[in-house]
Symmetry: C2
Subunit: 338 residues, 2 copies
């Protein structure tokens, strides 16, 4: 059916090896020979079989993206992340494979490693924020090219690119405190999600530093969805001694808080200030626009991918941990309490 390098070689009277050199661009070939081969390639409409090529090169040609949480794929966060991955891969011949690695336990590390040992991928990018904490902790034993994106992994030898989540929440706390808020609530994520702990910790650290009473600074836990943010908002805002400001651990839940306030007929930021974390593409266009912490997801993904590619090129395991800056974006949803 389709032609092979052998067909091309026969057609123009050179060896298979010469055809391989012309096609791959590796090794030198005289201009005349190259032309001759290329004409045959055109004539026979040859296209290389990458499976054969990859087997001979002892690789798969695929970078895997490990997705630990079902809801991640449909999120704007994932879109930005993939944008960064594609940017880093654009001028290479690597392809992207998606793997659902829903993993909760220690043993699941083996399933992840199997992707590498069966040569389904040559390296893996793991999207950390929605991963289980204890799962990430197993990575140092995995012995495969792997970069974690979105969360610092403390186990030695695990390469990760992340932003300073603790500082982001702290900046938001300081912003609200500076405006005069003293009763501030926090809506976090499930604590088995790796970054949820960090963000919640930043809030409780801040409250302790400022000696804010625990009773006035309640912590609620959602699941990062708009719906759970709305539920949190309905509960918090109808309580006696309701907070004058609420921080959500991600923008989606902040959106949910806004829906709750709307449902209750409360004005934002007049009656309550709302802050988020992520700076989703829609955060600026909502009414009110959302005060939030911008995290450079695209850049983290691009950098992480680049680290992985360098490791794959050099044969040395990816290493190092890199932090990226977060920044506070103040918009309409926060103001002085009245």
């Amino acid at each position: 059916m389709s032609s092979t390098m052998e067909d091309v070689a026969r057609e123009c009277g050179v060896s298979l090896m010469t055809v391989s050199r012309v096609i791959s661009g590796r090794g030198s070939v005289s201009a005349a020979t190259r032309d001759k081969v290329m004409r045959s390639v055109k004539r026979l409409d040859f296209q290389i079989n990458t499976v054969a090529s990859n087997l001979a090169r002892s690789r798969s040609g695929f970078i895997g993206i490990g997705i630990p949480f079902k809801g991640l794929i449909g999120s704007a966060y994932f879109g930005e992340l993939m944008d960064g991955v594609q940017a880093a891969l654009a001028s290479t011949e690597w392809e992207i494979a998606l793997f659902d690695i829903r993993a909760r336990t220690f043993e699941d590390g083996g399933r992840l490693q199997a992707l590498y040992r069966t040569r389904k991928v040559d390296g893996l990018l793991v999207v950390a924020p929605n991963a289980h904490e204890e799962f990430l902790a197993t990575f140092s034993t995995l012995r495969m090219p792997l970069v974690v994106i979105g969360k610092q992994v403390d186990t030695k030898g695990v390469c990760s690119v992340f932003c300073d989540d603790h500082r982001g929440i702290t900046m938001l706390c300081e912003h609200l405190h500076g405006l005069g808020h003293r009763r501030i609530a926090f809506v976090g994520g499930p604590l088995f999600f790796s970054v949820a702990q960090t963000r919640e910790r930043a809030f409780t650290d801040f409250c302790q530093r400022k000696r804010l009473p625990k009773s006035g600074t309640p912590v609620w836990r959602g699941d990062y969805s708009l719906k759970s943010g709305k539920e949190a908002g309905l509960a918090l805002l109808q309580a006696a001694d309701a907070p004058t400001a609420i921080i959500a651990a991600n923008d989606m839940m902040a959106y949910g808080l806004i829906e709750a306030a709307r449902k209750l007929g409360l004005d934002i930021p007049g009656d309550v200030s709302i802050g988020g974390f992520d700076d989703l593409p829609t955060a600026a266009d909502r009414v009110p626009s959302l005060t939030t912490v911008h995290q450079p997801v695209r850049e983290m993904a691009e950098r992480g991918t680049t680290l992985l590619l360098e490791a794959l090129d050099s044969g040395v395991a990816p290493k190092g941990t890199e932090t990226m800056d977060v920044s506070l974006v103040v918009r309409e949803s926060t103001a002085r309490p009245r």
Copy 2:
């Protein structure tokens, strides 16, 4: 480093072929031999090299997802779609590869076909709604296993699974008309997007059938983003003789319309009714909750994937066009005009 079937065969004194039979599960092996082999597999910690396996089987083992539009990956639509794909692939050994097929012209069909001819994928799922109309039209010439999801392709021989977009918009029009609305605006998508034409056509067909004057039923075009919906809303709602109801071609733009109304201090549905299309996961939880057309994205994707797998199994090109039902979900954002 890692062991091969040959190592296993040597270790337990059988032929390589017997090991292959045990591992693949194809062909028969005595229970005793199987046990012996499996013990060696455990001892040597053998894992099959899928690249070698796939080369020998003349396949790649990957199903490709063709993504025609950058913004698609970060959308809830894509999340639901991938959910359906994964459901269909769950009990198989196929893996998922992602390809950015940003393609606008006729020639780009060749780039798409190259994915197949270079054996990067064995078959492709193309996400149609955000694809260019003229690009889809080239598919009949492609000669590769391919299923289009989300849009009927009229070119003969192209397999597609889709929902009745025309009927969905018509139901929404009838709902609003039935409530008493006569000045209805429509916010569509860019006409080079394949489904944008269908949805807009359904609206103009309806207006003509009901003899609604063009001046009272303006058509605006956005780009499916919240931002563009907001811009449309700001323009339409501030015009003289503003519409009493607005239909958006997708939920994201409907959300944008709601933001615009909010910005202008208008009540929904008191001052203006809003309808969308998609039924995003968040549509029910927003305030007001959104009246919209539910399209079974997950089911379309699962069915399309199944058709592709069947074609790959049988060696017969995927064929047929299947429609799935849409349904109108009436919620709080629509009511009688006052």
